[in-house]
């Protein structure tokens, strides 16, 4: 059986998609998959994904309906507005919400590992996270990653 390992380090909406899309698809293709969530990536394992947002600020490649100066992008509420607009767009284009892709990964036996060090660092509670995940460190991840066909850092 082929294997794939992904390290998910980002907690923004755009960067949340690649690990879940690749993880669920690889599982559908018969891969054994593990995803290690560390630093901001840990947000992707929380029960509540409402903190996973997108910002046009510092993200000049983000397509905007109207050109928006940086001074405007930094105004309060802009991040929530951009997130709402992006989620709306994703829905209209038939892209699955993160929660759905995450469930599909778990249904397909993709193993999620939360970085214990980051859990301690950010004072997260284990009850903040979804069920059926493991907690581990670098050595735990590397034991699996060392024997994979594909290993990605996202």
């Amino acid at each position: 059986m082929k294997k794939m390992a992904i390290i998910a380090t980002k907690g923004t909406l755009d960067m949340a998609y690649p690990p879940f899309i690749l993880g669920s698809t690889a599982a559908a293709l018969g891969y054994e998959v593990q995803i290690f969530f560390t630093f901001y990536g840990l947000q992707l394992l929380r029960k509540d994904l409402s903190d996973v947002k997108i910002s046009p600020l510092g993200n000049p490649a983000m397509p905007m309906p109207v050109p928006m100066p940086v001074m405007v992008q930094m105004l309060p509420g802009m991040e929530s507005m951009a997130t709402m607009m992006m989620k709306d767009k994703l829905k209209k284009k038939g892209v699955a919400p993160l929660e759905e892709l995450r469930s599909l990964c778990q249904e397909a036996d993709v193993k999620f590992i939360a970085c214990q060090m980051t859990v301690d660092l950010f004072d997260f509670e284990k009850s903040d996270f979804i069920d059926n995940i493991e907690f581990g460190g670098a050595a735990t991840f590397l034991e699996f990653a060392g024997d994979t066909d594909i290993c990605l850092f996202v």
Binding site: A28, L29, G94, A96
Partner: protein, 75 residues
């Protein structure tokens, strides 16, 4: 050709057509044929890649009026 099961994947985008195809095949038996209809043009290459990697034979891949129809034979 006899179709044993149909999957309507219209309106869904990558990777959902593939994931739902996989799920649909899961409760079928060897030799049965699954028909998938999708509106995602990316699914044309993806369905072929899915077939190549999983061994479920892609019997047909056609397009008509913006809809893509695939026939897959369960491995």
């Amino acid at each position: 050709m006899q179709v044993d099961k149909e999957l309507d994947a219209r309106g869904l985008n990558c990777p959902l057509p593939i994931l739902k195809t996989k799920k649909s095949l899961a409760d079928m038996t060897t030799g049965q044929v699954l028909k998938v209809v999708s509106t995602d043009c990316g699914s044309v290459k993806d369905m072929q890649a899915f077939s190549n990697q999983t061994g479920n034979e892609l019997l047909a891949s056609t397009e008509a009026g913006g809809e893509y129809t695939f026939l897959l034979k369960k491995k």
